[in-house]
């Protein structure tokens, strides 16, 4: 999966993963993809809710070695 920017949200708990995601997306252009890596299991639902409520698209998710990876495309 291609991405334009990576956000390391490992070790951060709610609400930091989505608050930082929002901040990271702010500097990106429409259509660009942000890769977010988190360890907080709550981030799984939060990231989907973030996408649903803001209009950005959660294009893909993955789980690797206890880490949750999200690819968020800016609207």
């Amino acid at each position: 999966m291609n991405f334009d920017k990576e956000l390391n949200a490992r070790g951060l708990s709610c609400p930091l993963p989505i608050v930082k995601t929002k901040k990271a997306l702010a500097d990106m252009a429409t259509g660009q993809v942000l890769k977010v890596i988190a360890t907080d299991v709550g981030a799984v639902k939060d990231m989907q809710a973030f996408a649903d409520q803001t209009g950005h698209t959660l294009v893909a998710t993955a789980e690797e070695n206890g880490e949750y990876i999200f690819f968020m495309k800016k609207k």
Binding site: S13, C14, I18, K22, Q53, T54
Partner: protein, 156 residues
């Protein structure tokens, strides 16, 4: 799609009760809500420049999980409040929860508006110079102008 709005009335100033307003406000702001927090009574403590005095007491806090059961006679001993506060802060840090300062900064960066209740500032004779800069001072009637139009209005 009209912007959703959220108002929070923050009335508590202990460490445990400081988190809900800032977490809810920063999350809502991240989701695109227009957010305002009205700080009144002990919630005003959360507007201090220096938040290191925000504490939590083990006394009369029976719902607070403790590593060991603590009789009330022990909870009231000198130093126990500082210890409970220190332990809570360590736990928050260990679990990757942001500090109060960081959450407050995130709120301000996300354009969450802070309003301090003028009446209780006067009541407790608080010195405005001890509060952070980006605060507007007003009363309940003024806050209702915003709160009355919100999708979510919370009292903490």
């Amino acid at each position: 799609m009209t912007t959703k709005k959220m108002a929070i009335i923050a009335t508590k100033g202990t460490l445990d009760m400081a988190y809900p307003p800032f977490i809810l406000a920063s999350t809502a702001a991240a989701l695109g809500y227009d957010v305002q927090i009205f700080f009144t009574f002990y919630g005003l403590q959360l507007l201090r420049k220096d938040l290191s005095d925000v504490m939590i007491s083990p006394l009369a806090n029976p719902a607070m999980p403790m590593p060991v059961p603590m009789p009330v006679m022990v909870q009231m001993l000198p130093g126990m409040e500082s210890m409970a506060t220190m332990m809570m802060k360590q736990k928050l840090k260990k679990h990757g929860v942001a500090s109060l300062e960081e959450l407050r900064d995130l709120c301000l960066e996300a354009d969450v508006k802070f309003i301090a209740c003028q009446m209780t500032v006067d009541l407790f004779e608080f010195d405005k110079s001890e509060f952070i800069e980006n605060v507007e001072y007003g009363g309940a009637a003024m806050f209702f102008g915003f709160a009355g139009e919100t999708d979510i209005c919370l009292f903490v």
